[in-house]
């Protein structure tokens, strides 16, 4: 294993990283549930944990040739298992980013930026939502933008992911200022102000746990 600065992720690295993401989501079930309960129906934590358990099981029992397969499998398992709007949306976030991408067995931070750009575009299209609608896009969009703007920098993966994580968190903070326009929270209108969006919080957790995994596996 590479003990120095980590600049590339192998197929197995991506698998291990996503397993760590899954464990973080599962451990955050109650936290996400409580956030959702304020303005939604409180099932976001349970839903995300169901999806995480499904993709972790599939990742553990499968062999992968490409990074594309790891991401695609993760997303498909979420879509198949979760239900609700978040099953499709988070499934799309993992599965669709690699769709237009040539098969890869190693990626650097430019590759990650490409993948999550594809994810973001697909999520926006499928969810018919955009920045400012108080959805997970409010965290994913700024995270992807920093990934893209950092792609040309001579940064380590940890630094790049840390920056994306911060951008996602700022997005989560901004959702507190927004009135919901999508999903069940939409019907609560003004009452949703002051509360952060649960889906955006999940996006932040995903970037945070990817950063943590990479950081722990650097020298």
């Amino acid at each position: 294993m590479e003990k120095q600065t980590m600049n590339h992720l192998s197929v197995d690295d991506v698998k291990q990283m996503l397993l760590y993401v899954g464990e973080t989501i599962t451990a955050s079930k109650d936290y996400l549930g409580q956030i959702d309960a304020e303005i939604g129906d409180g099932d976001h934590g349970t839903g995300m944990a169901t999806g995480a358990e499904a993709f972790m099981k599939k990742l553990r029992e499968s062999e992968f040739e490409t990074i594309n397969d790891v991401f695609k499998t993760t997303g498909m398992e979420m879509m198949k298992s979760m239900g609700g709007a978040s099953g499709i949306i988070f499934g799309t976030m993992f599965s669709d980013g690699v769709k237009q991408l040539e098969s890869k067995s190693s990626i650097d931070h430019t590759g990650l930026a490409d993948i999550f750009r594809g994810s973001l575009d697909s999520v926006k299209k499928r969810g018919k939502a955009d920045v400012g609608d108080k959805t997970m896009i409010d965290a994913l969009d700024p995270a992807v933008q920093t990934l893209e703007s950092d792609a040309s920098k001579e940064w380590t993966l940890t630094e790049v992911l840390k920056h994306a994580e911060e951008a996602a968190w700022n997005g989560v903070e901004e959702t507190k200022q927004i009135t919901a326009k999508h999903g069940r929270a939409k019907t609560l209108g003004e009452r949703t102000k002051g509360y952060q969006d649960a889906g955006a919080t999940s996006v932040w957790l995903i970037f945070k746990s990817m950063r943590e995994w990479v950081e722990q596996h650097e020298g």
Binding site: A37, D41, G42, D43, T46, G47, T50, M79, K80, S81, M82, G83, G84, A85, S86, G87, I88, I89, R126, G127, H182, G183, R184, T187, L188, G189, R191
Partner: protein
């Protein structure tokens, strides 16, 4: 809130198993997913599939049956079914003549049914969709397609099931279902919240002396909060909203559904019904049929909805057609 249940994660599984155990002669479980199908289907006819989150029993499972839906795809409590479940139910019903999906208009249901529809097309199964949008409190009349689906599911499934049973083509069954949806308008009033199984807190806050007009079946915000009022005053205010929106006039014929939300008693519903009838009669509207029941519930939520299906000769034919499930008879 006390609730008769086992582990939270088994609520859906055990609900479906209980249903199958009770009615195994007429229904079977779809392998590996939270879906059921009605056993006695005609291979030459269109199949209607309904579905949605659990917790609204007897919808949606209880609206599979003769002259109704052929199958139901269920999600977890108050969460849309996943595409895999919908696809497996689609493959399990008779599907050579095509499949019509009918479900309440919620973001999660739309995303999952649309994806299932794409997957079904890949397996050469033709599908159509009618989203039920009867709740007049959830969006303006001009934005009917944005409205939520509540108890009106019953009339749309009834009309589509009857049209399918009559041997109509997929496009015709879809047209009838869409027409039934256009002619179906509902409004609800919530007087107390329900509790999602396994959750400690109620689904939403509503002070003891307060009610909410137009409250959605998951606690979504309605039109206005008010002090608790008499049954007659409730009926008056709800009919004002409904009749204006449904464009019902003297001489029209309609079917009325008074739907309890879970903890509201039949006695309360009947008290409201006498006022509804009195008002409709005074306005010259003929009540062709009345159904006082609790089909679309939200656990122990208190309150009810009034649904009006405006009839024409075509819809009357399909409304009158025989239908049967353990929870619905016509």
């Amino acid at each position: 809130m006390k609730k008769i249940m086992n582990q939270e994660e088994n609520v859906m599984e055990e609900t479906l198993q209980g249903f199958i155990d009770a009615y195994a002669a007429d229904y079977e479980r779809v392998d590996g997913v939270n879906g059921v199908i009605y056993r006695h289907m005609d291979p030459d006819k269109v199949s209607v599939i309904t579905g949605g989150g659990a917790g609204h029993e007897p919808l949606f499972v209880g609206f599979a049956g003769k002259g109704l839906a052929s199958g139901a795809a269920m999600g977890n409590v108050f969460a849309a079914p996943n595409p895999d479940t919908i696809l497996e139910v689609t493959k399990a019903v008779e599907n050579k003549a095509g499949v019509l999906y009918i479900y309440g208009n919620y973001a999660g249901d739309v995303l999952n049914f649309d994806m299932a529809s794409e997957l079904a097309e890949m397996e050469d199964i033709e599908t159509r969709t009618v989203k039920v949008s009867d709740d007049v409190a959830s969006a303006s009349k001009e934005n009917k397609e944005e409205r939520r689906g509540i108890a009106g599911d019953v009339f749309v499934i009834k009309a589509a099931g009857a049209a399918a049973d009559a041997g109509l083509s997929l496009d015709e069954v879809t047209r009838i279902a869409a027409k039934a949806n256009e002619n179906t308008h509902s409004i609800g009033v919530g007087i107390s919240p329900g509790t999602s199984p396994g959750k400690k807190a109620p689904m939403f806050e509503l002070p003891d002396n307060q009610i909410e007009f137009g409250l959605g079946i998951h606690g979504e915000k309605g039109i206005r909060r008010a002090e608790m009022m008499s049954a007659d005053d409730l009926a008056d205010e709800m009919l004002d909203h409904l009749l204006a929106d449904a464009a019902l006039e003297s001489g029209d014929e309609a079917v009325i559904l008074l739907n309890g939300l879970g903890s509201t008693t039949l006695m309360e519903l009947l008290i409201v019904n006498q006022k509804v009838h009195k008002e409709l009669l005074a306005k010259g509207i003929t009540v062709y049929d009345t159904d006082v029941n609790s089909y679309c519930t939200t656990q122990e939520m208190g309150g009810f909805s009034i649904t009006i299906l405006k009839l024409d000769e075509e819809l009357k034919t399909y409304y009158d057609a025989p239908a049967h499930s353990p929870y619905y008879h016509k």
